[in-house]
Structures are given as structure tokens and as C-alpha cells.
Symmetry: D2
């Protein structure tokens, strides 16, 4: 198979770097355009990017010239977007109109009615909204988005529980990694010997995005799941890996052991499980009493798995547990790439 | 007034050091005995103690000779105990029998029926259980305990809410400081770039201790508060200051603004408010959206105040908020000292 | 004595906040003007300042209105400057001309021939350069500067050694705190689980500034000390307190014990030792094998003392040792205040 | 080729875990015995080992039964030792006598006259001392040791410089990672917001071990290199990767550019360069002004390369630079494995 050319928007940022790293040696995709903000345009990637990852920058990326973040610079069938929401707002639809399939990590269009907020483990069928986009908006391409990095892991867990027990209410308290704020992001003086109990806009996303993802596609329209979610989001001194303490109430009041069985049995259909970025396993349940831990567990399944631990009875709701997900892999760049693979597999490229 | 001689048990540990620090220049108490474990006995305090606090060791303590942790070594009317539970189990009652009032931070006797688990802001009247102790057990002295450092701040908040709104259920997720584990405690390899979602025995304490403290003393007996508490406890890379994310359900479903008013109006009767270690204010409500933060707020009220922030409506229960309390001051050594002051004030020394 | 009004330039930054904190209850000075950058002008201090210190913002400062950083805004006889070098460049001389004595933490004028780079422990007599300034430049006021925060502690140690043994060469390797970079300063993603072996411009300052301070004032001119200094500066994950590993070669090849005696005997003349901000002691020598440590020792002498430890024979030069100094107190705001006290004491206010 | 069976002593500790990780899929070696201390004997590896690495424990290791650390338990031709020095003292010679080639990370026998302290990049020819051991001591097997993790990187750099410029004196100031102290090792309360300027026994090793490695093998005897080294060792809050600030004096006073050329040209003979664990490259010179950094650079060459940066003129000696080496890979487990490969290649197995 001929590799499919892809572009990366916002290529020099924290998520953009993850795109570059994860697309190195990708079996289907080949990066042909890197776009960056004005002050880096015209530089090589190695000059314009403060590389923050602990594996070396891929050789092929080092000398690529950074392009401007404009419609004309991008002609690839697939575009990965790590743009700030305000830049994504207009550019992503313009690219979709032009014929690109934009797999976006930006929040700008996540809640648009005809744009899927897609996690293959949860709602692969929502990708069909692409047909609505094309019909209504006259686009040749499309936009698909992935959720906020804190919603990702917990929504996968809620999905597994919901399809057996029916989830009604959840309380989520997060302990989020520094990379979620991008670079330079959180000042070191704010986080050494400290915790910040606030992340702007995050609790609203965590309360709402899972309801769209867990929703039902009917007649080209998504009915949100009626689940109620309360969120409290905190920043802690961890480099990568968002942890969520989750309390869940279900229709059928499962025991912890029943929940563990359901989580461990959670599997993907073959066509999804065989995609290159598919998590193996989708959910891993740890039985030790002190896991998951971000530093030790975030790279399970090459950063794509969702790790659950401490599943136990909750005195107030039904179940409590701890969920861990790699925020810049499963929660950002890896999510967009996995979505792109799903689209290719479904034959939805224009 | 002649200073009252006091002894400190477990004087070289993390909490023991706080006792020494907080009793420096105390207006009522004078430390006359420091007890330590066998390997330090006979050394001076400066030799036997790896001092971990960032203010210098008080001059008077440096050359005090460490005594064995035995009944014979202690003859003071007030004894502060920072003993491990298994040592406290037998020694504290023996001291009480001998005539000492033991103000203990150990967990060994917290749940004993006739032993008060005392927070002056919450249940000063429970100190009357001392009469039960003396009557039933024939003690001349007494034991009073203070709660687990994670329960402390949240119980004070729950008390303020309960007396106006009636609290029914609460979910507490903690982000706890390293000093709560003592020294050497948490290994650095376990906590740099990491979070540990488990603290042995802690969730059980956080679920139960507040119910005793919020309980009602009737006929010399405490009826536990019927409140249900669910706890998830986490260790984070913070030196001092336990933070708790709290969701609360109340009988009367207060609005956040009503809750803030009640928390800010929470005041102590004069006789309590004027004790040397009394928190000023007992509760401080922060209105900024990113407070409280451990490093910035733990020393409010010289480490004795309870700091509350982000009080807002909860989608699942009624209210959510963030509570901060200094774990080795308000949550440990300062708590025992404040309890001792209350006992002196009440004339309950033998 | 009537308090002397003082202004603070750059009042909202990391060093500006230390000025506000250290001038709270100062026996001689009263802050009457706070200047800040354009985006904060007109706000109150509590609104315009992201307060980063762990003691509360002083009450008197909270409601002061932030003034623009312009000549007209400042009329105090003493001005404390925490300005960036490029702003200080022109404004500080203009203020000196207008009649203000500017005690500056900025680097802009440190190396000017007629401007003292002043550490009272080291070169109090250099303050006489003020007369040169007034004569040559026609200023009514003056500028005095304090050195870079890394040079401070090591220069005090080198002074003590130099006056007895004659220092010839030194190698300094620093482990510097985050607050030295201001706020937001170092990104957390750059320093968690990491060290940065480079601080822009720092090594040049550390090599040169001590030579001016240790120099001799002759005929209104400073002859630099011929000492050679090699510096390597590193940033580490410490909030406050710069540590320097120092190797020193002396004319008379002292033994470590001789050096310790000289360091411990280092004393200030009474008129300096009695100034409000004078370090007590000026130098503290720790004999433990693992001290000084930033977190435990930076606040000795209220952050104004220089702490030395591990004084021992050096296999290559003569002596090696570890020096610690609080970078935003002794190395910045406290330094400027101490200099101002010296000027008042000397009767050098206009 | 049939895989060679190997045993690991001290398999559950921090270095022992690295042995297990690095030997996973090793092309020549197969782990057949894991030994541990008494309290773990009889458990499976997964039960007896608190795994601290961020890649999963290899499947083959999980169910291996931990053996006692005794002579009888070990029958492999190659034994990797991560024992404490006091246990290694007697057991390693007994194993060598029995016929095992012990590749040891322990310090017990490093300085023994007939035991090579071996870094293939530096002194591969010292492996010939094995013949002395066999002759003098009647051993069928042998002991070869690798140096202290702080000496490793700097000795490789000194070797490259020495063979062209002749090194005379060096001053080394280290910033060492937490994993160098093993587990539990450094208490978190000692290192959060702190630096510890002391590591027991380390400075002595850093001063002496490089002189043996850089020494000359003549007539079955090693003449130590006359180089003088002064060391100051510090512990910082970094998980892995020891950084050393190095000042060097050479016979021929090279310029920094000459030094960089020599470091970059440093190459190994083919037979060494082709060993499975050989560093590729042996030395990497970074030209950026802020590298190497532990988190970003420690895994270069799969943790086996030595990274050098900031090579510049030194005002006191001739050159200064920063050296980084992964302390538990190149500085410990990887070093022993690389030594074992050299021994196999040389045909020195019994």
C-alpha cells in the first residue's frame, strides 16, 4: 500500500511533537507537511521546535521546513490538528471544505451537532456523521474530533460499564499531568511542592463530552446520554498521565467483582482491534491496591490503553475506582491518529 | 502563671518535631521530657533527631537528653503522644492511670467508646467523656485523641454545614502531603513524576472518624452521626498540607452562596477562640478560582485554620468544594496542643 | 524617628513581592508607592499581583494602587528597583538625577565605574562612590546596586578567606533555585525529573561581579581584585536558595580547619551589625557532612545569613566547600534593603 | 548460537530490575536464575519484586522463583551481581572459584589488584587480568567489575581527551539521580524542594576509580594514571541520569574546538563496536547551550552513550564541560552486560 500523506498543524507544540513521534514508522501514514505559528515558519523543524520528548526527534522531521498555518499550505488527504481552539475555529472547516479529513485534537468543533467526538472504543459508529457533514455543509473532506484528555479514559470505562449496568451518575476528581497544559504551560514555581485545584474550562468539558460520546446516533443525530457527571480537576507535579478518581452509580447496582469482570472482558471488534494504533488491551484492570500510578502505568499498550485500579464498593454511589490514561498519547495525538485509521478503514477518505 | 510541664512521646519523628517547634515559646506549657525509641535514648535531641523543619531547632531542645518510652520516664501532668499505634496501645492507658492527661495523635484509642476524638471547633463538649474514663477505668489522668490528619479539615467544614443544613452524604478525594507518612516515609523514587492512589488504612479512618466527631454526647455516650462518607486517598509530591475535594449532600439543599455564608460565619465561642492555639480564623473561604493551594495557603492562621475554596453547586450531590488543612500542624501536633489547652481551660487536669 | 517613604519598582514580580514582604513592619521604611508594568497599572496590588509567597500579602499593600513605571510616579527619597535590566537602564539614572537614592537589584548599572556593587559584609566602603556619582553626573540622588544572586553568598565567603589567606583562583558550580528566574520563569515541563545546565548570562556575572566587590577603592576608583573565577551554573528543582560548590586556591594554602576558623570568626563592625537587615550571623559554618541544604537552611538569619558546609581539602586547588544563600532575600530584595539601611546610617540620603 | 545461561544476584533491587529489563530479548544471554534476599526467596519474581521501571516486567521473569543468594543456587557460566558490597565480598570470589564469570556492579572487589575495573570504551585490554586471577587464585571463573555510576561517563570522556591531550587534573561536581541510591533510597521529604550535597563514599570512588581505569596494564599489573581528581557529589530530584560538571587540565592545553573534535571522533574498534550493548555513539557531543539534560538525553544510545555538552574554555584549568550518563544503564546493569559480552567475544569463558 502506498503511504497516505498527512499534514500536522501546530507541529511544534507539546501535542504536535507527539504526532511527529507517533507517526514515525507509521505503517499507513507519511508526514509531508508540518505547519507552525508565524514566528517559526521557514525554519527547519529542528530549529523551530523545542523538542520535549525523551526519544530523539525522528530523522525525517529534523530538516522539514515549517509551513504557515494557512489553507494554501495544506493539501494532504488527512490533516492532524493540534491547533489552539481559536485558530481551529475557522481553519478546520475551510480545510474540510477543500477536501481534507481533519482529525482534530482542538476543542473548537467538538460539540458541533454533525461532527463526531470520536473514541473508537466507545462510539465508532458516530463516524457516520461525516455523511451529514458532507451533505449539509457541502464538504468534500470532514472534521472528526477527539475528546479532552481528561474525558478520554473515564469515558472508555463508563462505556464498558454502561453497556452492561447502565450508568446514571458519576463524580470525577482528576489529578492531571503538566503536559496537558502544553509548553511552557504550568510555571514550575506554581507546582513544585504544590497542587493547583483548578484548570480553566476543564470541568465543563469533563461534564459534557462523555455524554455526547456515550450518546446514540439516530437518524443522523446524536442523542446525548442522560448521565450526570460532576467534575473537580486538579493539576499535579506529574509529567504525563491523567489520573481520575471516579465514583459511579449504575442502574443495576453491580458489585465490584462484576464490574471488574465487565472491564476485563471489554473487547473491540476485530476491524477496530487490528488498527495500527488500537490499544492492546483496551482496558487493563490492575488488582494491586496501589495502582495505577502515572509513572509506572502510563505507557501500557504503548500509551493507548486505559488502566483501571482499586475497583471497590462505594458507600455513596455504587462503585469507586481509579482510571489512568496517557494524556498526550491516548488523550491527544494517539487519539487523532487512531481516529484517522478508523476513517481509512471505513473507506471514508474522499 | 507557672508554666505547666509537658512531655513529648515520639519526639524525634515528623510529628514529634512539630510538637517541639509549636511548643517553643508556648505561653502555658514547658517541655520537660522528650522520649524516643531505644536507639536514640541517652543522646541529646540534636544528636538523636534528624530535624526536618525549616525553622531551626529551638535552643532549649538541643541538649535535652532523650528518655526511654516507658511509664517511669514520664511524670508530667500533660503528655503529648506522637507514638506509633502499637506502642500507644498499652502505654497511653498506663500513663492515664498514673495521672497524666495524654493528648494523643496516635490512632490506637481514637475509637474507644469513652475516649474523645476531639476537635475544639467541632465537638468541644465531647471532652466531658474524661469523666466517664475516670469513673469507669479508675484513671486519675485521661486520654484525649485527635483525628487522622485527612479527617481534620473536612470534619470542621462538615460541622459548619451540618449545624445549618444537615449533612447526609459526602465523597472525599484527598491529595495528601508526604509528611503525613512520617520519615523516611514515602521513597522519592515512588513520588517524583508520580502519584500514589493508596494510603494504607486511611480511607477507613476518613469514613468513620468524622462520624464520631460529629456525633452527639448523650448520657455519657456518643451517638455517631448517621452521615455516610466515601473516601479515596492519594499521595502527591507536596511536603505539607492535605487537600480534600469534597462533594456534600445536605438535608436542605443549600446553594453555594448560602454555604459560603455559613462557612464564613463559622465562629467559636470566646473561651475557645481565645486559647493560644485557636485558629484565626477557624475557617477561611477563598473566593479565587484556583485556591486553596497547599504551598501558598497551608500556613494561614499559623497552620491552624481550615481553608475552603471553589465552593460551587454539585451536579450529583449538592455542593462541591476544596478543603485544605496543614496535616502536621492542624492535623497532628497543633491539634493535640489545642486539645490540651481546652482541657486546661476546662479545669480538667487532675 | 519618622518612617522614610520608599517606592518599589517592579513590585508585582518575584523579587518585588519579596520587597513588599521584607518591608512589612520595617522599623525605618514605609512603602508609599508601588510601580508595575502597564498591564497592571491602576489595579490594586492584590488584583495586579499573583502573590507567590507562603506568608499572606501584608494588609497595607493589598489596596495600594499600582502606579506606572515612570519618573513622575516616584518621589520617594529611597527607591527599590526590581526592574528588568532594559527598563532600569534609563529610568534608574533619571531617578538618581531627580534626587532619589535607587537601591537596585537590576544588572543594568552594576558594572558602571562610579556605581557601587555593594554587599555590606564585603565592601561597605565602596558606598563612597556615591560622591563620585554626584560630582561627575550632577546627581542629587544616587544608584547603588547589589550583585547577582549567585555571586552573593560566594563573594561573602571569598571575602572572609581573602582578607586572611589571599584568594587567587576559584571554580564555582551552582545549583540554583527556580525563583531566580522570576515568574513564570522556568516551565515545569523543563524541570520536573530534570536539571538544566545553563542559565543565560549568569556565568559571565559570576566570573566578574565578585572581582569588583572584592576590589579596592583608591582615589575614587575601584581596582578589581585579580582573582580568577570559573563558573558553571545549573538550574535545579528547588524553590528558593542558591547552592554553590566552590573550589578555592589561596596564597597561603590554608588547611580546612584554618578556613573554618576564619569563616566562623568573620564579624561585622557594630555599625553594620546593628542595621535592621544585618545577617545574624553573617556566616554560619555547618559541621554536619550533609549540610547546607536549601530547604532546611535557606531561612537561617531570616534568609540573610550565608551558610557554608563541607569545608575540606581540595585535591586540585586548596579548599572545597558548599555555600548556600537565599537568592530572593540575601541575593535580591534583602540585599537592596540592607544597602539602603547602610546609606541611611552613613547619612548619604540627599 | 545457543543462548548462554546467566544468573542475576540481587535481582529485585533497582539495579537488579535493570538487569532483567536489559536482558529481555538479549541476543546472547538467557536468564535462568534470579537470586534475592531471604525475605523474598521462594516467591515468584512478580510477588517478590516492587517493579519500579516504566516498561512492564518481562513475561518470562514474572513466574521465576526467587532463589537464595548462596553458592549452591548458581550454576550459570555468567553471573550478574547487583549485590550490596558486604554480601559480594565473599560470595563473588566463591562463585569465581566454582567456575562462574561474575560481572559485578558491586564495589567490593573493584580495587583488587588482579580484578579489572572495566569499561570497554576505556580499558578493554584490562580484561586480560582474568589470566592473573586464574593463575594466582586458582579460579576457573573470574570477577570483572564495572565502576561507580558517577565515574562512568566522566572516565570515558577523560579517556578520549587523555589519549590525545594528556589529562593532568580534573574537578568533578556531580548532580546525581535518585535511582543511584537504590530503593527505597532517598526519602521524598529529603529531596522535594531540596538538594543534598553529600553521598556517602562517593567522592572517594570518583577520585580513585578513574585512575585505575585510565591506568596501564604492564606485566600483569595496572599502573594507575597519575591524574588528580577532586570530587563534590550532590543528590538532586532526578529519577535517572547522573550529570557531572567537569573542569579538566591537559598537558597540551587544547582549545574547546579541538576537544570537541576529539570527543566526536572517539570511536571503538569494530570488535567492540559490534557487541550487542555497545553504545552508538560512544560519545555524543551536544552543541546546544543547554544540553545535556537528564530527562531528555539519558536514553540516547539506549542509555549506553555518554553525552557531553557545553564544552568551553575554563578560566582556571583548560576545559570545562557537562557530562551525562544513565546511571542504572551505562553506569550499572548495562555496564556489567557490556563487560560480559566483551568476555564472551574474547573467548574468556571457562
Amino acid at each position: 500500500m502506498e503511504p497516505i500523506p498527512v499534514a500536522i498543524l501546530g507541529a511544534t507544540g507539546a501535542v504536535g511533537q507527539r504526532f511527529v513521534q507517533l507517526l514515525d514508522h507509521h505503517p499507513w501514514f507519511k508526514v509531508t507537511t508540518l505547519c507552525a505559528s508565524d514566528r517559526s515558519v521557514g525554519k527547519t523543524y529542528v530549529e523551530g521546535c523545542r523538542w520535549l520528548l525523551d526519544s530523539p526527534m525522528p530523522e525525517w522531521a529534523r530538516d522539514m521546513i515549517l509551513q504557515p498555518t494557512v489553507l494554501e499550505a495544506v493539501n494532504e488527504p488527512i490533516v492532524f490538528s493540534a491547533l489552539p481552539a481559536e485558530v481551529a475555529q475557522d481553519l478546520e472547516p475551510a480545510l474540510a471544505e477543500k477536501g481534507c479529513v481533519v482529525c482534530s485534537n482542538a476543542s473548537a468543533h467538538r460539540m458541533d451537532e454533525d461532527i463526531p467526538l470520536l473514541l473508537p472504543e466507545v462510539n465508532a459508529e458516530h463516524v457516520e456523521l461525516i455523511h451529514q457533514q458532507r451533505q449539509r455543509r457541502g464538504w468534500r473532506g470532514a472534521i472528526v474530533t477527539n475528546p479532552n484528555c481528561t474525558s478520554t479514559g473515564m469515558t472508555i470505562v463508563l462505556k464498558a460499564l454502561d453497556q452492561v449496568f447502565g450508568v446514571k451518575r458519576a463524580i470525577a476528581v482528576s489529578l492531571q499531568a503538566l503536559s496537558g497544559a502544553g509548553y511552557p504551560g504550568v510555571a514550575s514555581l506554581d507546582i513544585v511542592d504544590n497542587v493547583i485545584p483548578f484548570i480553566r474550562g476543564e470541568e465543563e468539558k469533563v461534564s459534557l463530552e462523555p455524554r455526547k460520546m456515550l450518546g446514540t446516533l439516530k437518524n443522523g443525530h446524536i442523542e446525548y446520554h442522560p448521565l450526570t457527571i460532576s467534575a473537580q480537576t486538579n493539576r499535579v507535579a506529574v509529567l504525563d498521565g491523567h489520573m481520575v478518581c471516579l465514583n459511579v452509580e449504575c442502574e443495576t447496582r453491580p458489585s465490584p467483582e462484576e464490574a471488574i469482570q465487565v472491564l476485563e472482558a471489554f473487547a473491540l471488534p476485530d476491524w477496530l482491534a487490528n488498527l495500527p494504533s488500537s490499544p492492546r488491551p483496551p482496558i487493563m484492570v490492575r488488582r494491586e491496591n496501589d495502582r495505577p500510578q502515572p509513572r509506572l502505568d502510563r505507557m501500557i499498550g504503548r500509551g493507548m490503553s486505559t488502566i483501571v485500579g482499586r475497583v471497590r464498593a462505594d458507600e455513596v454511589l455504587d462503585l469507586k475506582m481509579v482510571v489512568l490514561s496517557h494524556n498526550t498519547i491516548r488523550g491527544a495525538a494517539g487519539a487523532s491518529i487512531y481516529n484517522a485509521e478508523l476513517i481509512v478503514q471505513k473507506g471514508l477518505l474522499p
